[in-house]
Amino acid sequence: MFSTGSKYFFGITLFGALSFAVYMLLIDESAIGATALLGAVAATALLTTLVLSTRDGEAGEAGVAATEDTPTSSMWPLITAAGFVILLAGTITTTAVFLLGVVVLLASLFEWTVLGWSERASSDKAYNASLRKRLLHPIEFPVISAVGLGVIIVAFSRITLAISKDAGAIAFIVIGLAVLGAGVLFSLRPNLKRGIVIGISTVGALGIVSAGIAGAGAGVRDELAEARSEGHYTHQDCGAEKSKYFDKLPLEVVSSTASVIATVEIVNGKLTARAQGIPGDQESITIPRSNPSSVMFVNKDQEEHRLVANLGTKVISGDVKEDVVLCTQMIADGAEQVLILNIPKPSMAGKPYTLTVPGLAGQSIEVIVP
């Protein structure tokens, strides 16, 4: 089906697309060059389609056969062109669209090529069709089902994101059981009418897709949206009071004991420090400058406490300064938490660095940074 002219233009198109890809991915991502190349590619692609559809403008022997072939072959140039359009749109909008374009393009080119081969395979059209099916079914089938399953996956996740946590679990059970139930039904009733089978499947598929669209429309549930916008778990709160999110479920055990430079403990209401490799309790600990060092806080007091590191001030802009404060969560008796300190300035620079515990007045461990 490829005539001389179309081969030529097709080649140029491919070459253009290739150089476009290479240009954009490797050389320069600037818009101008890429757009120019892409324009050229689109133009040659258009020419290819044109030349293909007119069979080089010839009407010879090939033309007779071609008219018969046209209905089957015309689909793929169209899709290829659509692929280009999507790809073009992708360069302007988002990468995802661009990728979709690439996929559509590659898929259609592949199908097109195989179609071309199969049509030249013999003069028997039925045989050619069976050949094409034999070759493409095992590829088309999984691809189509994978796309279908992808739709299910995305739709399902949209639903669960929109509804509440508990409802999500229930939805999960319902869908799982529905799938299983359908399987059992079809298996036990092998003679079920084809229409009923298709009906049930369609209803199921349509149901999940429409629910998915509805879910996507509704957006994520309120709690998640709120958590996103407020950064619940990253917002520190270093006072003596418990905070709503930061202090939720503090960690009980710490696994990074091997790399702890010092351990700070509250025993009998007294704050003490022990440094690795130095015997006895310390009132000050030395931490290398500009080096992330883990300090472990162990609460052996009956009340809940947190450890606060007061690390001087930092200049925000001009004369505006802000205290640098880090803290652990509020932890109960026997629990541990690690604080990673990275102090860039030596302690002689200003007021001393200290580790304190809100609520334990007058006690602190000095942090010396040489």
């Binding site: 034999r134 999984p142 399902f156 669960t160 994520v220 998640l224 778990y233 990253t234």
Partner: protein
């Protein structure tokens, strides 16, 4: 991810290599099955490495959320149950395949794939929810190792689904009923393995407190 995909694909696509299933072998086990077992043995070490990494880093949350703050154990329990059910349907598919019952094989393979897809859908939901709660891939060591471990498992499930759908396609093409029984059985082996790994992951990540 592509590498694993390629590995799976190549190893599982080896099914045709003996051509004739009735070849004599020294162990009595077919080459394909032995090969699959060996491959799964190797996979154990892959997940072993990933699980070790997670266990080392699960407490290291930096300033991000902690496991107990984001995990939704009821939901994940349900999704684990769905995946377990898919193992059951896979068994049904394999037994149908051994009976040469292509219709039921196709049916149960499809159901297995659908259940697998539901599970992956649950995972997509979970990841999105965690992300919204402030746990991105690069947020902390815990989050990175969590996503890598569960993500690798998700990829394995997805590869499994693709294999299941492919075998439906291949069976549609084949003329002799039951001729793909061994392939179905091998995909079944793989599928059960992925399920068992999930049970381990679920227990270690979600149920055992950090």
């Amino acid at each position: 991810m592509w590498f694993t995909l390629a590995e799976h694909a190549v190893i599982t696509a080896g099914e045709h290599d003996t051509g004739h299933g009735d070849h004599h072998t020294s162990t009595g086990l077919s080459n394909n099955k032995l090969g699959m077992w060996l491959f799964l043995g190797s996979e154990c070490l892959l997940f072993g490495g990933l699980i070790s990494t997670y266990m080392l880093y699960r407490g290291r949350v930096g300033e991000g959320p902690r496991p107990s703050q984001v995990f939704d154990i009821p939901f994940t329990s349900v999704s684990s149950f769905v995946l377990l059910m898919s193992s059951l349907t896979m068994v049904l598919a394999v037994s149908a395949a051994h009976k040469g019952d292509d219709r039921n094989t196709n049916l149960w393979v499809t159901i297995t794939a659908l259940l697998g897809a539901t599970f992956v859908g649950g995972q997509v939901y979970e990841f999105t929810a965690f992300y919204n709660e402030g746990m991105g891939f690069t947020t902390s060591l815990f989050s990175s190792s969590f996503y890598v471990l569960t993500g690798f498992h998700g990829v394995h499930v997805t590869v499994g689904i693709i294999m299941l759908m492919s075998i439906v396609g291949i069976m549609k093409r084949s003329k002799t009923p039951g001729s793909k029984a061994e392939t179905v059985e091998m995909i079944g082996l793989y599928w059960h393995f992925v399920d068992v790994v999930w049970i381990i992951i679920f227990t270690l990540i979600y149920l055992v407190p950090a």
